[in-house]
Subunit: 339 residues, 2 copies
């Protein structure tokens, strides 16, 4: 007994129905609603086979069937092998991106918002990361007599700025001179390289010590994994779905959503694939035993990669989500490219 065409069509109908209703689906439903030209009894036989093959689960003996993780996997792989961009999705995403966007963080916040409102699931957007960004410009801006703001511009946009203490003998012009020196010496370097070079450069300057300290810790902080800012949208969307009407489950899910770095490591994609779909146990996170995570990547002009993802119940509308993620990924890539 193998998996033939007809079995597959039936399985697909079951998945579609279950995704919409969250109710175990019975043979009669399929034969009536999906117009297969088969009676419920026949469907029943096929469903029995599908269960034996591991594609269906039966919560209890007389409750209809629900798709297993394996079924979703099959379904998704199928989706991935065919083109999936609905054209109306494309325009919906575009419409949401009107209006000027400013900084990276605004962009990814906005993206998460849009993604969640389009899908009705929880959305996560990770900022670009990848090959170490290289310093383009470094500038010190006076804040008070003893403090300055360090702004580093990298080839992938502004990384970060922070206030550091400086000697009070440095006025605006002196800071500008230092900025020029530092930019000249560090331009084209990665942050890690900068950490090493820094003592050599500041050693040659008079007012170097305080500066060195401040810059050093700043570089080191930012050289590490840059999952600083994770944007999350539609946290409470998960409560739309009956699988999370159990408060305890909702709680653990939502508090997972609050620990950004944990979330980032769950979402962040390993390989180079355009899409990743992890279903139920495949997520590797107990709190998400009956969630699926779908992610896509986008890239910036200089080859850095970011991830966007959607988290929802296993009975997720995979086709729609994949399509939206695809569009959104393109949109983001384009947006970062033109900077």
């Amino acid at each position: 007994m193998g998996m033939d065409e007809r079995k597959f069509r039936i399985l697909q109908a079951i998945i579609d129905d279950y995704i919409l209703t969250a109710v175990p689906v019975g043979s009669r439903t399929i034969s009536k609603k999906y117009d297969m030209g088969l009676s419920s009894a026949t469907i029943r036989n096929e469903m029995s086979d599908l269960e034996e093959l591991g594609y269906l689960d039966q919560p209890h003996v007389s409750a209809g069937r629900i798709p297993s993780a394996k079924a979703y996997r099959l379904y998704v792989d199928q989706l991935l092998h065919q083109g999936l961009l609905h054209s109306d999705t494309e325009s919906a995403v575009r419409a949401h991106f009107l209006g000027r966007m400013r900084q990276m963080e605004d962009v990814i916040d906005h993206a998460a918002q849009v993604l969640s409102s389009l899908t009705n699931y929880t959305a996560v957007v990770l900022p670009p990361s990848g090959p170490q960004p290289r310093i383009r410009t470094l500038q010190l801006v006076p804040v008070s007599s003893t403090a300055a703001l360090v702004v580093i511009v990298t080839d992938s946009g502004i990384v970060r700025d922070t206030v550091i203490r400086v000697s009070d003998q440095l006025d605006s012009d002196a800071l500008y001179a230092i900025s020029k020196t530092l930019t000249k010496e560090l331009s084209g370097r990665t942050l890690n390289e900068a950490v090493e070079l820094l003592p050599l450069i500041t050693g040659r300057m008079q007012q170097g010590e305080k500066l060195l300290q401040g810059l050093n810790s700043f570089f080191q902080e930012n050289a590490g994994a840059s999952h600083n800012h994770v944007a999350i949208g539609g946290r409470s969307n998960i409560l739309n779905y009956p699988e999370y009407s159990d408060t305890e489950k909702a709680r653990s899910f939502l508090s997972l959503m609050e620990t950004r770095d944990k979330l980032a490591s769950i979402i962040s994609q390993q390989g180079e694939m355009a899409f990743t779909v992890r279903i139920g146990p495949e997520t590797g996170v107990p709190e998400m035993a009956d969630c699926s995570i779908v992610t896509a990547t986008y890239s910036t002009g200089n080859g850095q990669q970011g991830t966007i993802g959607v988290i929802g119940p296993t009975r997720m509308q995979y086709d729609k989500v994949l399509s939206i993620l695809g569009t959104m990924g393109h949109q983001l890539s384009e947006m970062f490219r033109e900077d």
Copy 2:
């Protein structure tokens, strides 16, 4: 029949117990657990009086009593008239603030985090606002050949930075020269004043047009209400409490938490008081009919004011919350002062 000392003690016991258990409290509980030296029958009589006075509600005839909003109000007013800083609270807050903090946004994010974890309720922190901040320094940092980052430092810290387009004939030195001019002319002005002055200044420069456009829209955006960044911590804490085990209620609460500006306007404090406590209907927000909102203010060195707040069920641990908010407010004020 008035409100005497004994009635008040009984009411207090009822509130305390209800805050801890969320279960309607009966006369027997009070007489046994709170050691009043009175029998349950006596307590019963008093409770009956308290109900008539409007301090207690009875969900149904044989279910014990729960405190009314009026009772919480009395209880809170009482708290406010006595010193309330537990010394251990103070040190707990301090301990959480170790480690260097960087920018305003980091600080308030962190504050929200700490506040929610100390109280186990949902915490909200609004950034300082108030008298228009005045420009201290303005600097343009080159980003690419046609774009520059504008950084404005105000007397209350960094306001914002954004990337604007500039003529491609402006190199780093030219930008610096412009920065110096702009700083000289605009220093001490508010953003609104700057919007007016800008054309006059840039009119005298060659490359003014593009710059003017960019700076103008930047100023205008930031001159408006600066509730840009609202920090929220412990969103899902509300699910700890049985009054929100109803999923529908939790949903509406949580989605309210996602609309930052709405939230900001709810939280933001009108008067000049150190503390505000709004109980149940006093919040004026239907979604929060059985929530209380407690807020406190902090202030920056230059007289700007920010708000910190905690949202929880009406049976909130007011004493603890007020105490923590007080400490946190001081801590934040101090932190912003020394900048």
